[in-house]
């Protein structure tokens, strides 16, 4: 049974997660992606559970979580609860549809076990959830000139082989697109303005609850 999933990430979500990583250059960072899933699963009439089918995962926002102690559970569970509850209480049918992660070291392209575990947890409520790993090489390319390629690598969960990177020789049944063509140029502009300093993550909220992890003013 082969389906295909299209992951479409809005520039709000995309720029925010990259800026989060840039704010904390010397540590690993993570966060969740917010959006909605639409589409038809194969075998729907029988009560589809495999998640196989043709889906679109529309990612419209992201919430930065942590820049320290990513492997510890209590505050992660708290953050997931707060985010779940918040978006459930808003109109729009939005929920957690993915997870993003940026490794601590520049040349580390491995998807760590922390990322996989959190990804697994999220796929329990959203089977099409993807993991987005920051690609430092691509980010470097971006700083040298315009590029349309997203600076993240997508990983999707396959039933037997687990998390696989969307790449030649890797997962085939998915595609990642930037919703707006302006995403990378906005990102470049924001980087040169040092807007990453404005990003607030859940870690910072816990240290000072007057700081808002919704980052509503980031794109003003």
């Amino acid at each position: 049974m082969v389906g295909s999933t299209r992951y479409e990430i809005a520039q709000t979500a995309y720029v925010k997660l990259v800026l989060h990583a840039l704010k904390h250059k010397t540590s690993a960072v993570n966060g969740v992606l917010i959006g909605r899933v639409s589409g038809v699963g194969a075998g729907d009439s029988a009560g589809n559970e495999s998640g196989v089918g043709n889906f679109t995962v529309e990612i419209c926002n992201s919430v930065p979580f942590f820049h320290s102690h990513l492997g510890l559970l209590p505050m992660l569970e708290l953050a997931l609860t707060q985010v779940d509850e918040y978006f459930a209480s808003q109109k729009g049918g939005l929920s957690i549809v993915g997870y993003y992660h940026a490794n601590e070291r520049f040349d580390d392209y491995e998807l760590s076990s922390v990322a996989r575990k959190i990804g697994d947890h999220i796929t329990r409520s959203c089977p099409q959830a993807g993991i987005f790993l920051l690609d430092n090489r691509q980010l470097g390319v971006l700083s040298k000139g315009a590029t349309q390629k997203p600076v993240v690598q997508l990983y999707v969960r396959e039933a037997v082989r687990g998390w696989r990177q969307l790449a030649a020789g890797g997962a085939q049944n998915a595609e990642l697109v930037l919703k707006e063509a302006t995403a990378n140029s906005i990102l470049s502009d924001y980087i040169s303005e040092h807007r990453e300093q404005l990003v607030v993550d859940f870690d910072e909220h816990l240290d000072d609850i007057s700081k808002d992890w919704l980052n509503t003013n980031l794109f003003d």
Binding site: H69, L72, P74, E77, T81, S89, L206
Partner: protein, 303 residues
């Protein structure tokens, strides 16, 4: 860890310096004192200061400390040429210095030339076996190359000699957590708490680890350490307050039905009410969200 007043002073000086005015030397001194990592600002403005001969001459003997500080900040930003110049200036002034040689080792590290760095550190350690900073450079190199196991081994060896180095114990705990070797991480926390029993952050860290390990005993212990952290921080630490609530929920879920021992909800509801009070004061737009979550947790516990 930096206190709130110091953080505010640092941010003010940083704003002034970034704005073009401000006393760069004063800012650099505060960064040194607080041991914070502000490499981009330090490198940019420190280099400008050092390249300005009239400003530089006003620094007196501090200039050499500043050369060292700016060299390290430049390496942190991968501005290797600038770092080399600073190290060169230090080398000219202190030709025989081991401290300058250590900076040269760091320069090789920043370049990714691990062999050169390692052979330099070996030579230096042969003459200075009790220099803790040299040992720590080796640990840093292992980490930078992604060799976490090697870093753990090196840190353990380091702690055999320098067992009072709390930062090293803390770092070791973090490395064990990354490797998911939780029992070993717990040992590190126990050492830290034994030597500094009034440090709220160690109690907090231990609580988070115990919660992550899971199981009824660990969750109950986590709650105790969260409670200790709350007491030591005068009820101000939001992570500890939330931690109590998370423990309550986790304990109930772990016990399932047919529990034999009743866990009191007093601590849970007390923590909850302190949290709500703080949110009402500082984050009113999330009060409803928090109240809703806490109520659900309380109900689950009583049921």
């Amino acid at each position: 860890m930096v206190g709130a007043t110091e953080e505010m002073e640092l941010q003010k000086l940083e704003r002034d310096v970034e704005g073009g005015g401000g006393d760069v030397a004063q800012y650099l001194a505060l960064v040194r004192k607080l041991r914070v990592r502000r490499s981009s600002t330090v490198a940019r403005h420190g280099l400008a200061l050092l390249n300005n001969s009239s400003a530089r001459s006003k620094l007196g003997a501090d200039v050499w400390t500043i050369y060292e500080q700016v060299a390290i900040a430049a390496m942190d930003c991968h501005a290797l040429e600038a770092a080399k110049e600073c190290i060169g200036a230090l080398r000219t002034k202190f030709p025989e210095s081991m401290r300058v040689a250590r900076l040269e080792g760091m320069w090789w590290e920043a370049k990714g030339a691990w062999q050169q760095a390692e052979s330099l550190y070996s030579d230096l350690l042969a003459d200075n076996p009790s220099d803790s900073a040299l040992h720590k450079r080796r640990i840093a190199m292992a980490k930078a190359q992604g060799n976490l196991i090697g870093a753990v081994e090196a840190t353990n060896k380091y702690l055999e000699t320098f067992m009072a180095d709390h930062d090293a114990w803390r770092e070791l705990a973090d490395m064990y957590i990354l490797l998911q070797m939780y029992k070993q991480a717990a040992f590190c926390f126990e050492e830290l708490i034994l030597s500094q029993p009034t440090n709220a952050l160690y109690h907090l860290g231990y609580a988070e680890l115990l919660y992550t390990m899971g199981g009824l005993d660990n969750l109950r212990a986590a709650r105790k350490y969260y409670a200790a952290a709350i007491e030591m921080s005068g009820g101000q630490n939001m992570r500890a307050l939330f931690g109590i609530c998370m423990c309550g929920t986790a304990i109930t879920q772990t016990k399932g039905r047919g529990r034999d021992e009743k866990d009191s909800v007093d601590l849970l509801s007390l923590a909850g009410s302190v949290i709500v009070k703080q949110y009402k004061e500082k984050c009113p737009n999330k009060v409803d969200l928090i109240t809703s979550i806490l109520d659900k947790q309380l109900v689950a516990n009583i049921a």
